[in-house]
């Protein structure tokens, strides 16, 4: 979800727009205390942005701060700072990057100081670390915390009991707390309005992501995808800005599609699509460009990824529903990718490999993130078994530069590409014989 300075080569309107939105948001956030606005910190998976907007609160997303800092190569120091204050090297580096940033004065990615939150909204979706994370943050700020516990889809479905539980929490605890902290009265019609807006963006995003079914794919659904999901997974879902962004994006991609163009990369358009991959797992932020380059240099394009579903799985039909606002909000939270159980994930990945005609599944396993990573080796096997396509496994980290070993990753990727190639019966003579 990187809405940071986009790669220089990408100069489309959508990028410009996104860039503006991002920096405006960081600025707004920094200004919030002066403007008398209340600040809420919350997480990306299962974020209830529409609801928060109903209370005019500025939204701070610690994960986004961490990844933005990661891309700016600032997280190494932050993580060390956190480890110095007693955090184990074994735990999630997003948490440590956040705590490290706080310890170093809470200067946000854009250089503006981030405000102290007035409320920690612990939307506890798909990851236990979130809970500890906010307990740790709370210890520092001693501010109010509101828990929104999202039960896990242990058996692969969302049942009434789960939905009721979430709706009840929203109605009886979260909303009253938000009213109290913000001093704004809850207006359900306002919520409906935002949700209507969300659904528009959702529609366009899904359309864009699905263009990758074409050959060549006009987008990279992972490296490019993380830009595309930026607005909708964060503080913008439900805003008109977001709707406009997705409209623009859609028309740009439609144009590429029409012209039969490949995806745009930091080094310009990728011309020769040689490998189509499905990728599972978050990317590495600290060496994002270097990582991406290893793909497009070899002619590999990612046609579908699960990471672009962490802030909501929309491609199977879910849309925010203004007619059932709280229920659909509950369903949204319950349906995020990390809240799916392993069998559902295996099925989703296998379908992606097939629907997007991929050459195979690549898993980028993240050291930090047990929520994603525990079980990925079984996923790899399952998907290989079901699709008959070869998979590959690499290991990096989100924002800890110590765990990105470029040479290692490159070695594996190269071997993987050569393997796909060999399997197709192709030689190695591209560029030699010709």
């Amino acid at each position: 979800m990187s809405q940071m300075t986009p790669p220089d080569a990408i100069k489309e309107d959508s990028m410009e727009k996104q860039k503006q939105m991002i920096s405006a948001n960081f600025h707004e956030l920094a200004q919030a205390p002066q403007q008398g606005r209340k600040v809420v910190s919350t997480f990306v998976p299962g974020n209830i942005n529409e609801l928060l907007m109903c209370f005019d609160m500025a939204r701070n997303l610690p994960e986004i701060n961490a990844l933005q800092n990661g891309m700016r190569k600032k997280t190494g120091r932050m993580i060390m700072e956190a480890e110095r204050s007693g955090h184990s090297e074994d735990v999630c580096t997003y948490v440590k990057a956040d705590l490290g940033m706080m310890a170093q004065g809470n200067i946000g990615p854009t250089g503006e100081t981030l405000p102290k939150p007035d409320l920690l909204l612990l939307s506890y979706t798909g990851c236990f670390t979130f809970m500890k994370w906010f307990e740790l943050v709370r210890e520092q700020y001693d501010c109010e915390t509101s828990m929104l516990h999202i039960p896990y889809q242990g058996d692969g479905t969302i049942n009434e009991n789960m939905r009721d539980y979430v709706v009840k929490q929203l109605r009886e605890e979260v909303i009253p707390t938000l009213e109290r902290v913000s001093g704004v009265k809850f207006d359900i019609d306002r919520l409906r309005e935002y949700m209507r807006e969300s659904a528009k963006s959702e529609e366009d995003l899904v359309w864009v992501l699905q263009t990758a079914k074409n050959r060549p794919s006009p987008i990279d659904a992972y490296f490019g995808g993380v830009y595309y999901i930026g607005p909708i997974f964060t503080a913008f879902r439900g805003t008109e800005d977001a709707s406009e962004y997705y409209r623009t994006l859609r028309s740009e991609i439609a144009e590429r599609l029409e012209k039969g163009e490949g995806p745009i990369t930091p080094d310009g358009e990728m011309k020769d699509e040689k490998y189509r991959l499905v990728v599972e797992g978050p990317p590495n932020w600290t060496s994002f460009r270097e990582f991406w380059k290893m793909f497009y240099e070899e002619g590999a394009v990612v046609v579908a990824s699960t990471y672009t579903k962490v802030g909501g799985v929309y491609d199977f039909g879910f849309r925010h529903d203004p007619d059932h606002p709280l229920e659909s909000m509950a369903d949204y939270c319950l349906g995020c990718y990390t809240n799916l159980n392993l069998p559902s994930r295996a099925e989703m990945l296998s379908n992606y490999v097939e629907d997007y005609q991929a050459d195979g599944l690549l898993i980028n396993s993240i050291k930090s993130c047990n929520s994603f990573s525990a079980g990925q080796l079984l996923l790899l096997r399952e998907v290989e078994k079901r699709t008959g396509k070869p998979g590959a496994f690499i290991e990096t980290d989100l924002v800890d530069p110590r765990y990105f070993s470029g040479a290692n990753v490159k070695n594996r990727l190269e071997s993987y590409f050569q393997m796909i190639n060999q399997k197709r019966g192709g030689g190695f003579s591209e560029g030699v014989a010709a």
């Binding site: 204050s85 007693g86 955090h87 184990s88 074994d90 735990v91 999630c92 948490v95 612990l122 506890y124 990851c127 236990f128 670390t129 809970m131 500890k132 994370w133 307990e135 740790l136 709370r138 210890e139 001693d142 915390t145 828990m147 516990h149 039960p151 896990y152 242990g154 058996d155 009991n161 789960m162 009721d164 539980y165 009840k168 929490q169 009886e172 605890e173 159980n341 392993l342 069998p343 559902s344 994930r345 295996a346 396993s365 050291k367 047990n370 929520s371 990573s373 525990a374 079980g375 990925q376 080796l377 079984l378 399952e382 290991e395």
Partner: protein, 393 residues
């Protein structure tokens, strides 16, 4: 039922040791074979309501990984190097047929690793009953409480289906009572150890409690009672050790040698968070009213604190540990956490801050269930003991 009155504590511990070493779960197999139609349900740390399993006429069996004697060959294939050991050794146990005796598995809500393991189990052992047992992190009676009661009902009806027999409220009452009894026995043992730690070496106490993971609860209660009365009669030399609380060991278990090493290096363990399932509910569950409501109430309002549970009130965080130190007159805390254990390791700094505020000394290290080298552990525990001994008044 076995009677250990004559063999002294050594015989009891010996029996527990055999149960502990037995990765084939032979006694569980025997229990199951003894009567046609018996069913066994496995569960992982940290807490499941065993009362319900018991009421269904089934044997709840605690699965705590493979320890240091299991050669993990296939299990490693499922996990990256940066994930703790317990899920891989559990998979190894499953793949090698050692868990065949289980008719189902419950995966409690403790962390993402165990949570995902529940899905892996569904993919790998398709013919077994598998349930991810989620618990609320909202403790309001009509929000989290009603969610939890519904989850319990779901579990109950699943088990009914599995056993083919109805569970009556009466069954539940009886089960709650035997577990109340078991918890009381365990509390007594803990109190006894806190009073006379030299008479109840921690590795022994560990084994005695651990036996409860596989024995029928009634038998386990008796075993604990027998052990206490045996040690009461025995003389042991009191050593110049300091008193510590061990914290962080609620899921993946350290090798027995580690517990022994802590004691060898000069520390008596006077409280710990091993196998919390046996001490999860802090009070007796009342045996009148609605049994499921009562179990839910116990969970919401009277249960042990641990890293897997959310603490709604900031000032409450970590107080349970300070309390444990006070109550047991401990001189310090040893944080021992499994490597890569997110819940334990993320909680640790907060707990340490609480201790620091109260001037309670602590030390910390990590382990894996198959750690072989105890030298660094002895070094650290020893230094900790040295410093308490040499520097305390």
């Amino acid at each position: 039922m076995n009677n250990f009155q004559n063999g002294g504590s050594a015989a009891i511990v010996d029996r527990c040791r055999r149960l502990f070493d037995d990765l084939e779960f032979s006694e569980v197999r025997e229990w199951k074979a003894a009567e046609k139609g018996r069913k066994v349900i496995g569960y992982m740390p940290v807490y499941v309501p065993r009362e319900i399993i018991h009421a269904a006429g089934m044997l709840p069996v605690g699965i705590l990984g493979g320890g240091d004697q299991l050669e993990v060959i296939q299990g490693d294939a499922y996990y990256q190097s940066y994930i703790c050991r317990i899920p891989r050794s559990t998979i190894e146990l499953g793949l090698t047929g050692r868990l065949d005796v289980l008719d189902g598995m419950l995966f409690p809500s403790i962390c993402d690793v165990i949570r995902n393991l529940s899905g892996m189990w569904q993919l790998m052992f398709e013919d077994k009953y598998v349930r991810y047992f989620d618990v609320p992190q909202n403790y309001a009676r009509d929000i989290g409480g009603s969610y939890y009661v519904n989850e319990l009902k779901q579990l109950l009806s699943d088990l009914e289906k599995l056993s083919g027999k109805q569970i009556s409220p009466d069954d539940l009452w009886k089960s709650i009572e035997v577990y109340n009894e078991n918890r009381r026995a365990i509390q007594d043992l803990y109190h006894y150890r806190a009073k006379r730690p030299w008479k109840t070496p921690s590795p022994d106490v560990y084994l005695v409690i651990r036996a409860g993971m596989v024995l029928p609860v009634e038998e386990h209660t008796q075993l604990i009672r027998d052990y206490i009365s045996a040690v009461e009669k025995e003389e042991q030399v009191m050593r110049d050790n300091c008193r510590v609380v061990v914290s962080g060991v609620f899921c993946e278990q350290p090798p027995l040698n580690l517990i022994r090493s802590i004691e060898m290096a000069g520390c008596y363990i006077v409280d710990d968070d091993f196998m919390l399932v046996t001490r999860w509910l802090l009070e007796d569950v009342p045996t009148s009213g609605d049994p499921l409501e009562n179990l839910a109430d116990g969970f919401l309002n009277h249960s042990n604190e641990t890293s897997a549970k959310y603490v709604p009130v900031t000032s409450d965080k970590g107080q349970y540990l300070v309390e444990a130190v006070r109550k047991n007159q401990a001189e310090g805390v040893i944080f021992a956490a499994p490597s890569f254990c997110d819940p334990a390791l993320l909680d640790r700094p907060m707990l340490q801050n609480c201790l620091a505020e109260e001037n309670i000394p602590y030390t910390a290290f990590k382990y894996a269930e198959n750690s072989g080298q105890m030298q660094p552990i002895r070094e650290q525990a020893g230094t900790f003991a040295d410093s308490i001994k040499l520097w305390s008044a």
